[in-house]
Symmetry: D2
Subunit: 135 residues, 4 copies
């Protein structure tokens, strides 16, 4: 199920074109992804304590309208594929006040063993929580 | 012609997985892009003084190997399409010490009038400098 | 009057010591300062539109306890001196769940004319709103 | 002995006032500090592998002149106190092209055991390298 979370643009998020610097949205996709996992009772801290890493494999974004200082952004995160070895999400970031779509994007994370860096498979406990998020 | 520029990974570029946070590479693509323009005698400050903006339209990255603190990265930026209305670049980021490819990516910027936000066309002066970079 | 605003620590805010990178708190002081001004009906966008800049003159922070991923931080911002030429604030950042004080700090902004960079004096409209925040 | 290292301001380092966002300088103090340690054959990675953390205890900065996009900054880092339990540095950041002093500052790090978070004392190996930097 989709996660929805809000973020207010700070002055430090802007650049000399007086808009949000585009790389920030890649960070904000992570806010959405973390929130999705949190809603499904998965904490990145627990994953790490259990020896998992979850590196990003790919990310992409399209920029439609520029965000500005003080805009309240609505970050909507939708799971596309959640397996024992990867998580694929898509993102839509809206300006809350007028519902204008600013940015769309996608990301793929893989699960690895932190100790070796090799791809691994999530154990049953995490996997069940994760796929519960697809409903 | 390709631009090559170097960046040493700082401690503040890392995250709790002890690797470079993935969003930083999107910023570092900008280092490559700025360097390419600088090599072709185009300054972002001049563009802005002349009323242009150059917002990002899309960006994408694939992550192959994680960068770490103190790695010296070699950012190679190759122009794919340079026109009066847009710039498309691809990027390869290597770990200099062993020439391992860490990240690949691409970006598209468009040129707009800063005053209106509308797509515009680069004037002859900038356009000639820009396409000189294709040789 | 004190402003209170909340910020949840993101994964991208952490560093390889698995704690919040210290420079982020300097950014989060700005979240508190912006919120204080917003509560007093002053928008940084309006200030800029009216030709003011508000550069930081000095900043300082003391770090007591490390923040971590997913901590909810409570940022309390207290005005110390608000005049036509400067704003001095102090900050206390608490971990909300157990009320532990993580970071304290202070900042001074000055008001300048954006066009010249010279120190200037706030006009009556802004000044009245600003000092109303002292009550 | 003083460390000197250079950093070119990127577009992503700027904010909507068209200058470097002030929090970045706090990050750049870290570039200077890391370089000082590197010159004295101390790697933060080695410190971490040996179970040390080196959290910041306090930081302060004064801002004299605003840095801008494409400025080449010269970061000069001077050790003030280097002991088994802490490192105190001062910083001066100059605009290289005209030698104008932009920012001055200071920082204190303490050494802790990563496992416990308690203050600890550097072993002889690191301590000798560290104080060699005072000459």
């Amino acid at each position: 199920m989709k996660s929805t979370v809000f973020y207010r643009v700070n002055f430090f998020d802007t650049d000399a074109m007086s808009v949000v610097h585009h790389a920030n949205y890649i960070r904000w996709f992570e806010i959405g992804r973390s929130d999705f996992l949190r809603q499904n009772d998965i904490s990145l801290l627990d994953l790490m304590a259990d020896g998992y890493s979850f590196p990003i494999f790919e990310v992409a974004a399209k920029y439609h309208v520029s965000g500005k200082y003080d805009d309240i952004l609505r970050i909507e995160t939708t799971p596309q594929a959640l397996t024992r070895v990867k998580m694929v999400f898509t993102y839509e970031i809206f300006r809350e006040k007028d519902n204008i779509l600013l940015v769309t994007g996608s990301s793929t994370n893989v699960f690895t063993k932190a100790a070796t860096g090799k791809i691994t498979r999530l154990d049953d406990g995490y996997y069940k929580k994760l796929i519960a998020g697809l409903k």
